[in-house]
Amino acid sequence: MSGRVRRWAGSEAARGLALISPTLLYAMAMLLLPVIIIILFSFWKQTFLTVDHSFRLDNYRAALTQPIYRDLFLRSLWISLTVSVATVVMAYPVAWYISFHGGRNKNLWLFLITVPFLTSYLLRVMSWKLVLGYNGVLNSLLLWLGLIHSPIESLLYNADSVIITLVHSWVAFAILPIFVSLEKIDRSLVEAGQDLGDGLFRSLTKIVLPLSLPGVTSAFLIVMIPTVGDYVTPKLVGGTEGVMIASAIEVNFGRAMNWPLGAALSVTTMVLVASAAGLMVLALRLAVRGVRR
């Protein structure tokens, strides 16, 4: 027994584990522990400052049946799905262009894409207020062009403005994984396709897209998972129509003083976003397989 332990302790796997253990412990403490606490809380009950530790499902019943939460869940999912689809659709051509036609300037292009990140996320969100606001850039432009006669009021403080802002914030995160998977495609595969009669469209749909699917999938997940629970953007540009589930969670952990309900909403969000992400990955695969045939 001790011999086996000693042999394991000297193995490559054990050394690898030892190497990552500080990070692993840190991640466990900062990620797994809070999640466990949240899950525990979601089955408890709070009355003002006292917490009742007996097991109950009331919080989930409330989270899943109360219309306000159902609406917020649906809206959050809808917004994050729309944002991730739009982001990936916009990021793909950019990544494709840099990878296939960037030539010597690939690194310059990648740098330019990351330039917006030199400013704060809050500033980038706030700047959309300037663009979309009542006296904002867009309204002024449309007025100046004579396309409208009075400023459009519905540009800001709704779900659309949240979507626009989120897409802008996340597009760079989608470009990078797609770019990496495009870079990995052996160019002779693309040339072989051309040699066998591919035009640009067929080359893209039959070879480039299927082979870059891992990048597209991770871009999708990278955007979708965090945006479901986004709190700052809806707060700043969402108004009442753009409120997402994170605001409800914040209220329950804050002013409403109902941590168990907040926890149940969080857990439900996690489960929902995980299933939605899984479904999207599946749908993406099927779509690409369909195109390939």
Binding site: A192, G193, D195, L196, G199, K206, R292
Partner: protein, 367 residues
């Protein structure tokens, strides 16, 4: 070949990358049904030329015609050519049958006809029943066959092969060489092969173009290019060659009488592009054209020397023989039939040669 219109006509083709001339004023004809090889060291421009035939690259200047039609500007997907890539470029997300059928899809042959042609092509490369395999489940030789089937199924006018055998081990490579040659003769398609392996080019081709530094040095049949190389570089690239210094004694049209060191006086044919510098000329003789004379043997042309070095290769032995009056020792290849492997360094040997085997090089100045 003179009356028949060539399948491929390359006229004054150059390709520049910035200031680098990858190809410089190439002129070449390839006949229909010919197995043609572009042979040269890496960086000589042979692959660039092949990619231009495929339409994957465009000449900086000059024109390329295939089957009588100018297709200099025609893109790869519109050309009657198909290519077998060096990496084989088997689509990893498709199985073997889908790979082979890839180019057929656009022809809209119908499922039955398409499947028939895929089966026929797989049969041709001796991979019947491999249709359902994935690309990553194949060995190197099998991937090569799939790449071949995928190109042949298109029934191209010209099949282009970019070092198709270089990734295979020696035994498999020799097997595939024989198969490739048989295949070419049975389908009758024009093959253009790019290779840096002179044995491969010699074994497979009807004609070979040897290229150096973006230019064609010589175009000839394998036998002629090996036996009658026109320049020292071509001679060297195709195998061992002993170079001898010569002095021009007389000149009569294309015939040149050259006095060589120790090899006597010979009348040789001037190769194209011959330049004499101050009456000097370089003559070459292949190592296997020299023969060790055993006790009692006599030859009309003999040389005596001492073995300076030897290398044993199993079926042959390579000898280096120092001859008085010659600057460099002569290299000789002897089969080990009569005991050449038992000759020791320092031993005195007599050599026989045939003056017919002497070739005049176009570029002067030995060593």
């Amino acid at each position: 070949m003179p009356d028949v219109k060539p399948m491929i006509e390359i006229r004054n083709v150059s390709r520049h990358f910035g200031t680098f001339r990858a190809l410089d004023q190439i002129n070449l004809d390839v006949a229909a049904g010919e197995f043609f090889s572009l042979l040269g060291p890496s960086g000589c421009g042979k692959t660039t030329l092949l990619r231009m035939l495929a339409g994957l690259d465009t000449p900086t200047s000059g024109t390329i015609s295939i089957d009588g039609a100018d297709c200099t500007e025609v893109r790869a997907n519109q050309r009657p050519t198909n290519m077998v890539f060096q990496s084989y470029a088997i689509f990893p997300h498709l199985n073997v049958a889908e790979n082979v059928a890839y180019g057929l899809k656009r022809m809209r042959l119908g499922r039955v006809e398409e499947a028939r042609r895929v089966d026929e092509a797989l049969e041709m490369v001796r991979l019947p029943g491999f249709g359902a395999r994935k690309g990553n489940e194949l060995s190197g030789g099998q991937r090569q066959r799939v790449a071949l089937a995928r190109a042949l199924v298109m029934r191209p006018k010209v099949l282009l092969l970019d070092e198709p055998l270089s990734a295979l081990d020696k035994k498999l490579r020799e097997e595939m060489q024989t198969e490739l040659r048989t295949l070419q003769q049975s389908v009758g398609i024009t093959f253009v092969l790019v290779t840096h392996d002179q044995y491969e080019a010699l074994a497979l081709s009807d004609r070979i173009a040897v290229m150096f530094g973006g230019q064609i040095a010589q175009v000839a049949s394998p036998m002629e290019i090996y036996q009658r190389p026109t320049t020292r570089k071509v001679a060297d690239f195709l195998g061992g060659m002993n170079f001898l210094r010569g002095r021009i004694a007389a000149e009569a049209g294309a015939a040149l009488t050259v006095e060589t060191e120790r090899f006597g006086t010979a009348t040789l044919t001037k190769p194209p592009g011959f330049t004499a510098s101050g009456g000097r000329a370089t003559v070459g003789i292949r190592p296997e054209r020299l023969r060790v004379l055993w006790d009692g043997e006599r030859a009309e042309h003999e040389l005596t020397g001492r073995i300076a070095n030897r290398a044993y290769f199993g079926e042959t032995t390579s000898l280096s023989v120092a001859i008085d009056g010659l600057e460099a020792p002569l290299s000789i290849v002897e089969t080990n039939t009569f005991g050449a492997d038992e000759l020791n360094i320092g031993a005195e040997v007599r050599l026989a040669f045939d003056p017919e085997a002497l070739v005049l090089m176009a570029d002067p100045d030995a060593r």
